[in-house]
Symmetry: C2
Subunit: 222 residues, 2 copies
Protein backbone atom coordinates (compact mmCIF):
# COMPACT_ATOMS: atom_id res chain seq x y z
CA UNK A 1 0.00 0.00 0.00
CA UNK A 2 1.20 3.46 -0.87
CA UNK A 3 1.99 5.78 2.02
CA UNK A 4 1.78 9.14 0.29
CA UNK A 5 -1.14 11.49 0.32
CA UNK A 6 -3.04 12.62 -2.76
CA UNK A 7 -4.30 16.20 -2.64
CA UNK A 8 -6.90 17.57 -5.06
CA UNK A 9 -5.75 21.13 -5.68
CA UNK A 10 -8.39 23.84 -5.95
CA UNK A 11 -8.31 26.89 -8.19
CA UNK A 12 -6.69 29.86 -6.50
CA UNK A 13 -8.87 32.64 -5.20
CA UNK A 14 -6.16 35.30 -5.28
CA UNK A 15 -6.39 37.94 -7.96
CA UNK A 16 -2.80 39.09 -7.76
CA UNK A 17 -0.60 36.01 -8.22
CA UNK A 18 2.69 37.93 -8.15
CA UNK A 19 1.86 39.41 -4.74
CA UNK A 20 0.79 35.99 -3.45
CA UNK A 21 4.05 34.48 -4.74
CA UNK A 22 6.16 37.13 -2.99
CA UNK A 23 4.25 36.51 0.24
CA UNK A 24 4.86 32.77 0.00
CA UNK A 25 8.60 33.33 -0.57
CA UNK A 26 8.77 35.56 2.52
CA UNK A 27 7.19 32.83 4.62
CA UNK A 28 9.53 30.20 3.19
CA UNK A 29 12.49 32.45 4.02
CA UNK A 30 11.39 32.64 7.66
CA UNK A 31 10.88 28.87 7.80
CA UNK A 32 14.29 28.27 6.15
CA UNK A 33 12.68 26.15 3.47
CA UNK A 34 14.14 26.46 -0.04
CA UNK A 35 11.56 25.83 -2.76
CA UNK A 36 12.56 24.78 -6.28
CA UNK A 37 10.06 24.82 -9.15
CA UNK A 38 11.02 22.15 -11.70
CA UNK A 39 9.46 22.43 -15.16
CA UNK A 40 9.75 20.68 -18.53
CA UNK A 41 7.88 19.01 -21.38
CA UNK A 42 6.19 15.68 -20.73
CA UNK A 43 8.77 12.91 -20.81
CA UNK A 44 11.97 14.95 -20.49
CA UNK A 45 12.94 13.09 -17.33
CA UNK A 46 11.80 15.25 -14.40
CA UNK A 47 11.04 12.32 -12.10
CA UNK A 48 14.20 10.38 -12.97
CA UNK A 49 16.24 13.55 -12.40
CA UNK A 50 14.53 14.03 -9.04
CA UNK A 51 15.43 10.48 -8.04
CA UNK A 52 19.09 11.14 -8.83
CA UNK A 53 18.93 14.52 -7.05
CA UNK A 54 17.45 13.02 -3.91
CA UNK A 55 20.08 10.26 -3.87
CA UNK A 56 22.83 12.91 -4.08
CA UNK A 57 21.48 15.19 -1.35
CA UNK A 58 19.35 13.18 1.08
CA UNK A 59 22.12 12.76 3.66
CA UNK A 60 22.73 16.53 3.79
CA UNK A 61 19.24 18.00 3.91
CA UNK A 62 15.62 17.05 4.55
CA UNK A 63 13.86 16.87 1.19
CA UNK A 64 10.14 17.12 0.44
CA UNK A 65 8.64 16.62 -3.02
CA UNK A 66 5.31 17.79 -4.47
CA UNK A 67 4.41 15.82 -7.58
CA UNK A 68 1.89 17.80 -9.61
CA UNK A 69 -0.02 15.85 -12.19
CA UNK A 70 -3.36 16.19 -13.89
CA UNK A 71 -4.53 12.79 -12.86
CA UNK A 72 -2.15 9.94 -12.05
CA UNK A 73 -0.08 8.97 -9.01
CA UNK A 74 2.80 7.27 -10.82
CA UNK A 75 5.38 9.94 -9.99
CA UNK A 76 4.68 10.08 -6.26
CA UNK A 77 4.87 6.29 -6.13
CA UNK A 78 8.30 6.48 -7.80
CA UNK A 79 9.61 9.20 -5.50
CA UNK A 80 8.28 7.50 -2.36
CA UNK A 81 10.74 4.66 -2.96
CA UNK A 82 13.65 7.09 -2.49
CA UNK A 83 12.62 7.64 1.12
CA UNK A 84 11.93 11.36 0.56
CA UNK A 85 8.75 12.92 1.91
CA UNK A 86 6.29 13.18 -0.98
CA UNK A 87 2.78 14.31 -1.78
CA UNK A 88 0.86 13.89 -5.04
CA UNK A 89 -1.01 16.99 -6.21
CA UNK A 90 -3.85 16.57 -8.68
CA UNK A 91 -4.52 19.71 -10.68
CA UNK A 92 -7.86 18.48 -12.04
CA UNK A 93 -7.03 19.29 -15.65
CA UNK A 94 -5.30 22.59 -14.90
CA UNK A 95 -2.16 23.04 -16.97
CA UNK A 96 0.03 24.86 -14.44
CA UNK A 97 0.39 25.77 -10.76
CA UNK A 98 0.26 29.30 -9.42
CA UNK A 99 1.32 30.53 -5.98
CA UNK A 100 -2.03 29.78 -4.33
CA UNK A 101 -2.00 26.21 -5.63
CA UNK A 102 1.63 25.79 -4.55
CA UNK A 103 0.68 26.99 -1.09
CA UNK A 104 -2.01 24.30 -0.89
CA UNK A 105 0.64 21.75 -1.87
CA UNK A 106 3.15 22.98 0.72
CA UNK A 107 0.49 22.87 3.44
CA UNK A 108 -0.38 19.32 2.39
CA UNK A 109 3.28 18.29 2.38
CA UNK A 110 4.12 20.04 5.65
CA UNK A 111 7.33 22.09 5.54
CA UNK A 112 8.39 22.43 9.18
CA UNK A 113 10.85 19.55 8.80
CA UNK A 114 11.80 20.26 5.18
CA UNK A 115 14.96 22.15 4.18
CA UNK A 116 14.60 21.63 0.44
CA UNK A 117 11.13 21.43 -1.13
CA UNK A 118 10.70 20.61 -4.80
CA UNK A 119 7.63 21.23 -6.90
CA UNK A 120 7.53 18.98 -9.96
CA UNK A 121 5.23 21.11 -12.09
CA UNK A 122 2.84 19.81 -14.79
CA UNK A 123 4.69 18.68 -17.93
CA UNK A 124 4.20 21.71 -20.15
CA UNK A 125 6.62 24.25 -21.65
CA UNK A 126 3.98 26.95 -22.08
CA UNK A 127 1.58 27.74 -19.23
CA UNK A 128 3.77 27.06 -16.14
CA UNK A 129 6.19 29.76 -17.37
CA UNK A 130 3.51 32.40 -16.95
CA UNK A 131 2.82 31.85 -13.24
CA UNK A 132 5.19 32.63 -10.36
CA UNK A 133 4.72 29.70 -7.96
CA UNK A 134 6.51 31.40 -5.07
CA UNK A 135 9.58 29.22 -5.62
CA UNK A 136 13.00 30.61 -4.74
CA UNK A 137 14.47 29.33 -8.00
CA UNK A 138 13.04 28.04 -11.27
CA UNK A 139 14.68 25.06 -12.96
CA UNK A 140 13.83 23.43 -16.27
CA UNK A 141 14.84 20.32 -18.12
CA UNK A 142 15.22 20.06 -21.88
CA UNK A 143 16.02 16.56 -23.08
CA UNK A 144 18.17 15.76 -26.10
CA UNK A 145 15.41 13.97 -28.08
CA UNK A 146 13.27 17.15 -27.97
CA UNK A 147 15.77 19.01 -30.15
CA UNK A 148 18.03 22.02 -29.75
CA UNK A 149 15.56 24.46 -31.34
CA UNK A 150 13.14 24.48 -28.41
CA UNK A 151 14.42 27.78 -26.93
CA UNK A 152 13.27 29.46 -30.16
CA UNK A 153 9.79 28.01 -29.80
CA UNK A 154 9.14 28.33 -26.05
CA UNK A 155 11.17 31.47 -25.25
CA UNK A 156 9.35 32.51 -22.07
CA UNK A 157 10.14 29.24 -20.27
CA UNK A 158 13.85 29.55 -21.06
CA UNK A 159 13.78 33.24 -20.05
CA UNK A 160 12.36 32.80 -16.55
CA UNK A 161 14.55 29.88 -15.40
CA UNK A 162 17.67 30.18 -13.26
CA UNK A 163 19.06 26.85 -14.37
CA UNK A 164 18.62 24.60 -17.39
CA UNK A 165 19.42 20.90 -17.22
CA UNK A 166 20.03 19.37 -20.65
CA UNK A 167 19.08 15.76 -19.93
CA UNK A 168 19.56 12.42 -21.73
CA UNK A 169 23.02 13.36 -23.00
CA UNK A 170 23.77 9.62 -23.01
CA UNK A 171 21.64 9.26 -26.15
CA UNK A 172 23.26 12.24 -27.92
CA UNK A 173 24.83 9.97 -30.61
CA UNK A 174 21.37 8.90 -31.81
CA UNK A 175 19.90 12.38 -32.27
CA UNK A 176 20.74 15.50 -34.26
CA UNK A 177 21.16 17.68 -31.20
CA UNK A 178 23.54 20.63 -31.49
CA UNK A 179 24.55 21.44 -27.90
CA UNK A 180 26.45 24.61 -28.81
CA UNK A 181 23.57 25.98 -30.88
CA UNK A 182 21.19 25.20 -28.01
CA UNK A 183 23.41 27.04 -25.51
CA UNK A 184 23.60 30.04 -27.84
CA UNK A 185 19.80 30.22 -28.26
CA UNK A 186 19.31 29.96 -24.50
CA UNK A 187 21.95 32.50 -23.42
CA UNK A 188 20.64 34.98 -25.98
CA UNK A 189 17.26 34.81 -24.21
CA UNK A 190 18.71 34.58 -20.73
CA UNK A 191 22.40 35.53 -20.32
CA UNK A 192 22.52 34.63 -16.61
CA UNK A 193 21.10 31.12 -16.83
CA UNK A 194 23.24 28.24 -15.58
CA UNK A 195 23.33 25.35 -18.08
CA UNK A 196 24.23 21.86 -16.88
CA UNK A 197 24.25 18.87 -19.28
CA UNK A 198 23.23 15.71 -17.43
CA UNK A 199 22.12 12.15 -17.82
CA UNK A 200 19.75 11.29 -14.99
CA UNK A 201 20.04 7.67 -16.09
CA UNK A 202 23.85 7.33 -16.01
CA UNK A 203 24.46 9.98 -13.34
CA UNK A 204 26.65 12.18 -15.55
CA UNK A 205 26.45 15.83 -14.48
CA UNK A 206 24.38 15.10 -11.37
CA UNK A 207 27.18 16.13 -9.00
CA UNK A 208 27.46 19.56 -10.69
CA UNK A 209 23.68 19.97 -10.38
CA UNK A 210 23.73 18.86 -6.72
CA UNK A 211 26.52 21.34 -6.00
CA UNK A 212 24.51 24.17 -7.62
CA UNK A 213 21.56 23.22 -5.40
CA UNK A 214 23.74 23.09 -2.25
CA UNK A 215 24.88 26.65 -2.95
CA UNK A 216 21.32 27.89 -3.50
CA UNK A 217 19.98 26.27 -0.33
CA UNK A 218 22.94 27.66 1.66
CA UNK A 219 22.45 31.18 0.24
CA UNK A 220 18.73 31.07 1.09
CA UNK A 221 19.47 30.28 4.74
CA UNK A 222 22.09 33.00 5.22
CA UNK B 1 13.86 35.23 -48.56
CA UNK B 2 11.00 33.28 -47.07
CA UNK B 3 7.79 33.16 -49.05
CA UNK B 4 5.33 32.19 -46.34
CA UNK B 5 3.09 34.55 -44.45
CA UNK B 6 3.17 35.04 -40.69
CA UNK B 7 -0.20 35.69 -39.09
CA UNK B 8 -0.60 37.02 -35.55
CA UNK B 9 -3.64 35.18 -34.22
CA UNK B 10 -6.09 37.09 -32.05
CA UNK B 11 -8.06 35.77 -29.10
CA UNK B 12 -11.42 34.38 -30.15
CA UNK B 13 -14.52 36.41 -29.44
CA UNK B 14 -16.89 33.44 -29.52
CA UNK B 15 -18.34 32.32 -26.23
CA UNK B 16 -19.40 28.86 -27.38
CA UNK B 17 -16.35 27.17 -28.88
CA UNK B 18 -18.09 23.83 -29.54
CA UNK B 19 -20.77 25.56 -31.63
CA UNK B 20 -18.12 27.53 -33.52
CA UNK B 21 -16.17 24.32 -34.18
CA UNK B 22 -19.25 22.55 -35.55
CA UNK B 23 -19.95 25.53 -37.81
CA UNK B 24 -16.37 25.48 -39.13
CA UNK B 25 -16.61 21.73 -39.87
CA UNK B 26 -19.86 22.29 -41.81
CA UNK B 27 -18.14 24.92 -43.94
CA UNK B 28 -15.13 22.68 -44.53
CA UNK B 29 -17.48 19.88 -45.58
CA UNK B 30 -19.05 22.14 -48.22
CA UNK B 31 -15.64 23.24 -49.44
CA UNK B 32 -14.41 19.63 -49.54
CA UNK B 33 -11.43 20.52 -47.35
CA UNK B 34 -10.37 17.90 -44.81
CA UNK B 35 -8.79 19.45 -41.70
CA UNK B 36 -6.47 17.46 -39.42
CA UNK B 37 -5.46 18.78 -35.99
CA UNK B 38 -2.00 17.43 -35.09
CA UNK B 39 -0.98 17.63 -31.44
CA UNK B 40 1.92 16.48 -29.26
CA UNK B 41 4.52 17.49 -26.68
CA UNK B 42 7.32 19.80 -27.74
CA UNK B 43 9.95 17.83 -29.60
CA UNK B 44 8.01 14.67 -30.38
CA UNK B 45 8.55 15.16 -34.12
CA UNK B 46 5.42 16.88 -35.44
CA UNK B 47 7.24 18.84 -38.14
CA UNK B 48 9.41 15.93 -39.26
CA UNK B 49 6.31 13.73 -39.43
CA UNK B 50 4.57 16.40 -41.50
CA UNK B 51 7.48 16.49 -43.94
CA UNK B 52 7.24 12.72 -44.42
CA UNK B 53 3.43 12.93 -44.72
CA UNK B 54 3.59 15.65 -47.38
CA UNK B 55 6.17 13.66 -49.36
CA UNK B 56 3.86 10.62 -49.31
CA UNK B 57 0.68 12.45 -50.35
CA UNK B 58 1.58 15.58 -52.30
CA UNK B 59 1.04 13.99 -55.74
CA UNK B 60 -2.48 12.87 -54.79
CA UNK B 61 -3.95 15.90 -53.04
CA UNK B 62 -3.38 19.62 -52.54
CA UNK B 63 -1.96 20.11 -49.06
CA UNK B 64 -1.97 23.25 -46.90
CA UNK B 65 -0.23 23.52 -43.53
CA UNK B 66 -0.82 25.91 -40.62
CA UNK B 67 2.18 25.97 -38.28
CA UNK B 68 1.06 27.29 -34.92
CA UNK B 69 3.81 28.47 -32.64
CA UNK B 70 4.08 30.91 -29.80
CA UNK B 71 6.80 32.90 -31.41
CA UNK B 72 9.19 31.44 -34.00
CA UNK B 73 8.97 30.73 -37.74
CA UNK B 74 11.29 27.71 -37.85
CA UNK B 75 8.55 25.18 -38.61
CA UNK B 76 6.98 27.10 -41.50
CA UNK B 77 10.45 27.58 -42.99
CA UNK B 78 10.97 23.79 -42.81
CA UNK B 79 7.59 22.94 -44.34
CA UNK B 80 7.95 25.53 -47.11
CA UNK B 81 10.84 23.50 -48.52
CA UNK B 82 8.47 20.57 -49.17
CA UNK B 83 6.58 22.71 -51.69
CA UNK B 84 3.34 22.56 -49.67
CA UNK B 85 1.34 25.71 -49.08
CA UNK B 86 2.13 26.95 -45.58
CA UNK B 87 1.33 29.75 -43.16
CA UNK B 88 2.93 30.45 -39.79
CA UNK B 89 0.47 31.29 -37.00
CA UNK B 90 1.75 33.10 -33.94
CA UNK B 91 -0.41 32.53 -30.89
CA UNK B 92 1.19 35.35 -28.88
CA UNK B 93 1.81 33.20 -25.81
CA UNK B 94 -1.48 31.34 -25.98
CA UNK B 95 -1.06 27.65 -25.25
CA UNK B 96 -3.67 26.21 -27.62
CA UNK B 97 -5.90 27.01 -30.60
CA UNK B 98 -9.67 27.03 -30.49
CA UNK B 99 -12.09 27.05 -33.42
CA UNK B 100 -12.07 30.83 -33.81
CA UNK B 101 -8.29 30.92 -33.95
CA UNK B 102 -8.23 28.00 -36.39
CA UNK B 103 -10.69 29.89 -38.58
CA UNK B 104 -8.32 32.87 -38.67
CA UNK B 105 -5.54 30.51 -39.72
CA UNK B 106 -7.62 28.88 -42.47
CA UNK B 107 -8.59 32.30 -43.82
CA UNK B 108 -4.95 33.32 -43.81
CA UNK B 109 -3.90 30.09 -45.55
CA UNK B 110 -6.76 30.16 -48.07
CA UNK B 111 -8.55 26.83 -48.49
CA UNK B 112 -10.24 27.06 -51.90
CA UNK B 113 -7.39 25.11 -53.50
CA UNK B 114 -6.65 22.87 -50.51
CA UNK B 115 -7.96 19.29 -50.22
CA UNK B 116 -6.07 18.41 -47.06
CA UNK B 117 -5.35 21.10 -44.46
CA UNK B 118 -3.21 20.36 -41.43
CA UNK B 119 -3.04 22.38 -38.24
CA UNK B 120 0.20 21.77 -36.36
CA UNK B 121 -1.00 22.80 -32.91
CA UNK B 122 1.18 24.31 -30.14
CA UNK B 123 3.46 21.68 -28.55
CA UNK B 124 1.50 20.88 -25.40
CA UNK B 125 -0.24 17.73 -24.16
CA UNK B 126 -2.62 19.59 -21.86
CA UNK B 127 -4.49 22.64 -23.12
CA UNK B 128 -4.98 21.81 -26.83
CA UNK B 129 -6.96 18.72 -25.77
CA UNK B 130 -9.62 20.93 -24.21
CA UNK B 131 -10.54 22.91 -27.31
CA UNK B 132 -12.30 21.62 -30.41
CA UNK B 133 -10.52 23.35 -33.30
CA UNK B 134 -13.17 22.42 -35.87
CA UNK B 135 -10.89 19.74 -37.32
CA UNK B 136 -12.45 16.66 -38.90
CA UNK B 137 -9.99 14.37 -37.10
CA UNK B 138 -7.57 14.76 -34.20
CA UNK B 139 -4.15 13.15 -34.41
CA UNK B 140 -1.40 13.04 -31.80
CA UNK B 141 2.19 11.98 -31.66
CA UNK B 142 3.87 10.37 -28.68
CA UNK B 143 7.58 9.78 -29.16
CA UNK B 144 9.50 6.87 -27.66
CA UNK B 145 11.86 9.02 -25.53
CA UNK B 146 8.84 10.53 -23.72
CA UNK B 147 7.99 7.18 -22.14
CA UNK B 148 5.10 4.73 -22.32
CA UNK B 149 3.41 6.07 -19.17
CA UNK B 150 2.23 9.32 -20.76
CA UNK B 151 -1.36 8.12 -21.38
CA UNK B 152 -1.71 7.79 -17.58
CA UNK B 153 -0.56 11.37 -17.07
CA UNK B 154 -2.29 13.20 -19.93
CA UNK B 155 -5.47 11.12 -20.30
CA UNK B 156 -7.66 13.73 -21.98
CA UNK B 157 -5.32 14.15 -24.94
CA UNK B 158 -5.24 10.39 -25.58
CA UNK B 159 -9.03 10.21 -25.15
CA UNK B 160 -9.97 12.80 -27.77
CA UNK B 161 -7.67 11.66 -30.59
CA UNK B 162 -8.70 9.47 -33.53
CA UNK B 163 -5.18 8.32 -34.25
CA UNK B 164 -1.96 8.05 -32.26
CA UNK B 165 1.41 7.96 -33.97
CA UNK B 166 4.13 6.46 -31.80
CA UNK B 167 7.17 8.17 -33.29
CA UNK B 168 10.96 7.63 -33.09
CA UNK B 169 10.62 3.84 -32.98
CA UNK B 170 14.10 3.73 -34.57
CA UNK B 171 15.59 4.68 -31.17
CA UNK B 172 13.53 2.10 -29.24
CA UNK B 173 16.68 0.08 -28.32
CA UNK B 174 18.08 3.04 -26.35
CA UNK B 175 15.01 3.69 -24.20
CA UNK B 176 12.90 1.72 -21.73
CA UNK B 177 9.72 2.04 -23.76
CA UNK B 178 7.15 -0.74 -23.40
CA UNK B 179 5.06 -0.57 -26.59
CA UNK B 180 2.51 -3.15 -25.44
CA UNK B 181 1.97 -1.41 -22.09
CA UNK B 182 1.56 1.90 -23.92
CA UNK B 183 -1.06 0.42 -26.27
CA UNK B 184 -2.94 -1.03 -23.30
CA UNK B 185 -3.01 2.29 -21.44
CA UNK B 186 -4.22 4.09 -24.58
CA UNK B 187 -6.92 1.63 -25.62
CA UNK B 188 -8.26 1.54 -22.06
CA UNK B 189 -8.84 5.32 -22.36
CA UNK B 190 -9.93 5.20 -25.98
CA UNK B 191 -10.91 1.79 -27.40
CA UNK B 192 -11.47 3.11 -30.94
CA UNK B 193 -8.17 4.90 -31.43
CA UNK B 194 -5.94 3.83 -34.31
CA UNK B 195 -2.31 3.34 -33.19
CA UNK B 196 0.49 3.48 -35.77
CA UNK B 197 4.14 3.10 -34.74
CA UNK B 198 6.34 5.19 -37.04
CA UNK B 199 9.78 6.65 -37.51
CA UNK B 200 9.45 9.95 -39.34
CA UNK B 201 13.23 9.89 -39.76
CA UNK B 202 13.58 6.44 -41.38
CA UNK B 203 10.12 6.37 -42.99
CA UNK B 204 8.97 3.24 -41.16
CA UNK B 205 5.18 3.20 -40.75
CA UNK B 206 4.63 6.32 -42.89
CA UNK B 207 2.83 4.39 -45.63
CA UNK B 208 0.32 2.99 -43.11
CA UNK B 209 -0.26 6.51 -41.79
CA UNK B 210 -0.62 7.93 -45.33
CA UNK B 211 -3.14 5.20 -46.16
CA UNK B 212 -5.17 6.04 -43.04
CA UNK B 213 -5.19 9.69 -44.14
CA UNK B 214 -6.22 8.80 -47.72
CA UNK B 215 -9.25 6.93 -46.34
CA UNK B 216 -10.24 9.83 -44.08
CA UNK B 217 -9.96 12.42 -46.85
CA UNK B 218 -11.96 10.16 -49.20
CA UNK B 219 -14.69 9.56 -46.60
CA UNK B 220 -14.96 13.30 -45.95
CA UNK B 221 -15.62 14.00 -49.62
CA UNK B 222 -18.30 11.33 -50.08
Amino acid sequence: MEGFRVLEIKKSVFENNDREADKLREELKKEKTFLLNLMSSPGSGKTTTLKATIAALKDEMRIGVMEADIDSDVDAATIEKTGAKVIQLHTGGMCHLDAGMTRQGLEGLGTDNVDFAILENVGNLVCPAEFDTGAVKNAMILSVPEGHDKPLKYPLMFSICDVLLINKIDVMPYFDFDLEACKQYVTKLNPNIKIIPISARTGEGIEEWAEWLRQQVKAWNE
